[in-house]
């Protein structure tokens, strides 16, 4: 391969990457799901206590505990609160105060409103993609 061609391939790929990045940052991730101030506070509590080491959101995270994407709608707020406030044999009690727990619940509620995971009513195509139907 000639040096010129190598450079050509390289810089074409870099240019494509940069423009792709721009689209991903803007139109690709433009959604209606903006976070409330309470949810942002909750996100901080979630991070400060490293919940993601044991839990997943959208299936991403550590695997000791369950996925929390839809925990509010499937289990209800009270159930979630009792886990967070008391811990379990496997989950530590983080001794969070009431505002922190409220914030966490707001954050988990926000995440819940954005998606449905795992989506149990998928339709597969022969070419390997998935048609999402949002009905549970």
């Amino acid at each position: 391969m000639r040096l010129q061609n190598k450079r050509l391939f390289f810089f074409t790929l870099v240019a494509a990457y940069l423009s792709y990045t721009f689209f991903v940052y803007t139109s690709g991730t433009e959604t209606a799901f903006k976070m409330s101030a309470a949810a942002q506070e909750g996100k901080k509590v979630f991070q400060d206590n490293n919940c993601i080491a044991c839990h997943q959101l959208y299936g991403l995270g550590g695997y000791m505990g369950p996925d929390l994407t839809n925990v509010i709608s499937s289990r209800g707020e009270l159930y979630v609160r009792s886990f967070i406030e008391n811990g379990t044999a496997k989950m530590p009690d983080f001794e969070l105060n009431k505002p922190e727990v409220d914030a966490l619940v707001a954050y988990l509620g926000y995440v819940d409103s954005s998606a449905n995971f795992p989506n149990r009513s998928v339709e597969l195509t022969w070419y390997g993609t998935v048609n999402n139907s949002t009905a549970e």
Partner: protein, 435 residues
């Protein structure tokens, strides 16, 4: 003059030894969550993962410095030393913050974001040393392209991984997660560039054949790798509701790796005859093992990049099988080969025994992760409760823990052997006479 490359290698070996201890701890806690509560799972996991990644980077960086030093290319040597120093100091600070329970709390880089500043700064030092040194080399072999790419891409993607500190990214979970995995997907590609480059360099030395690293096929594979590095990352986030074209792009690009799989099968006979030729070199043994693990992990990766398969495997230990299968089977094998070759350690029965313990237990380890992942995915899809699933899978997790302990023991035996050999000529082997 002091050999910065070797400083990085020894740092890498130490990091891996610690990573293995915390990995084994995390695996035990999967079954006995009360085990060592001072370092509970949410501390043990980031300690394990960060130290494992530190091993890969440190040794990969060490390989690059070694190349510069052995070929008398290195310039601004003191900046390299400063790079090493800040790597070690930042590493120690990050480990202490995990112990203390101070987190940034985002997957993989679970440390507070301030530590990103010294990491980025030290990387600039690396870039300055590398580019000012190799600028004089004409007609770069493919591994120099790979190292150059890895160095630049790490900087860019690590910066990108920190964009969440701005509201524009963090106040939408969709945007935040998409950008997070966009950066991680490419960042992993950047360390692969460093490590695969080191692997090619070792093969060039073992075979005494310089033509491959200049060949058309080597560059074609490099460009396939680079395309994937840039565009395949969204196969991690099919489940995140960003625009459909992001997932579609990832699906299409991921399938280009079939070309690499095809080539491995096509060249299999060739690989075997090379294997016979170099079977007496222990470094080559590890390269050969990495070839087999490339094949297995690439096949798995391609499979789980198909959205219709991914719906079932995503969020299960199949992903962990992919992550650890590749970082251990591919990256770590290549780096061990590099170390053996670099120090000229050969023909030790000890190394051969470790080789077999590591690879056999890795086989069991990998299969238990895939098996438990598939079963968990299927059960959750059927709506079974998480705790019931975990109880039903406990036999798998036991096997995972046991094979993991053997794997860790095999690696630790090898690493202590390395450290022991290293100490025999210490400190002379850390220095090189300047001409």
């Amino acid at each position: 003059m002091i050999r910065t490359g070797r400083l990085f290698i020894i740092t890498g070996i130490t990091s891996l030894a610690l990573a293995l201890v915390f990995g084994a701890l995390a695996a035990i806690q999967f079954i006995y969550p009360d085990f060592l509560p001072e370092i509970a799972f949410y501390k043990a996991r980031p300690l394990h993962v960060s130290l494992a990644v530190a091993w890969i980077f440190s040794c990969g960086i060490g390989a690059v410095y070694n190349y510069l030093e052995l070929n008398n290319l290195i310039r601004f040597r003191y900046l390299g030393l400063l790079h090493w120093l800040s790597f070690v100091v930042t590493g120690i600070l990050i480990i202490s913050s995990y112990f203390q329970g101070t987190f940034g709390g985002r997957e993989y880089w679970e440390f507070p974001p301030v530590f990103s500043i010294p990491i980025l700064a030290s990387w600039i030092l690396f870039g300055v040393v590398f580019f000012s040194s190799v600028i004089r080399v004409k007609n770069w072999p493919v591994y120099l392209w790979m190292w150059a790419t890895g160095i630049v891409i790490f900087f860019v993607t690590f910066l990108e991984a920190n964009l969440w500190i701005f509201d524009y990214f963090s106040n939408s979970v969709v945007r935040e997660l998409t950008v997070q995995w966009k950066s991680y997907g490419s960042l992993v590609g950047s360390w692969n560039m460093l490590v695969y480059g080191a692997g090619l360099y070792v093969m060039e030395k073992i075979s005494e054949d310089k033509s491959y690293a200049q060949s058309g096929i080597a560059f074609i594979l490099y460009f396939v790798g680079l395309t994937n590095l840039f565009f395949n990352w969204a196969h991690h986030i099919y489940a995140v509701p960003s625009s459909g074209w992001i997932g579609t792009t990832a699906y299409i690009i991921s399938m280009t790796e079939l070309f690499i799989i095809g080539r491995i099968i096509w060249k299999w006979k060739n690989t075997l005859s090379t294997a016979k030729k170099f079977a007496n070199r222990q470094a080559y043994l590890f390269i050969l093992a990495s070839d087999i693990w490339v094949f297995l992990n690439l096949a798995l990766a391609i499979l789980i990049s198909i959205p219709a398969v991914n719906v079932y495997t995503h969020g299960t230990h199949v992903t962990v099988a992919h992550a650890m299968g590749s970082t251990i089977g591919i990256n770590s094998m290549i780096l061990v080969a590099f170390i053996l070759h670099h120090f000229g350690w050969n023909n030790s029965g000890w190394v051969r025994v470790c080789f077999w313990i590591i690879n056999l237990s890795l086989g069991v380890f990998w299969i238990t992760l895939i098996g438990s992942g598939i079963l968990k995915g299927a059960a959750l899809m059927n709506g079974e409760s998480f705790s019931a699933v975990m109880i039903n899978l406990s036999a798998w997790f036991n096997l995972f823990m046991i094979s993991g302990v053997f794997l860790a023991a095999g690696f630790l035996a090898l690493l202590f052997h390395f450290l022991f050999e290293f100490l025999i000529d210490f400190p002379e082997n850390l220095f090189r006479k300047t001409e």
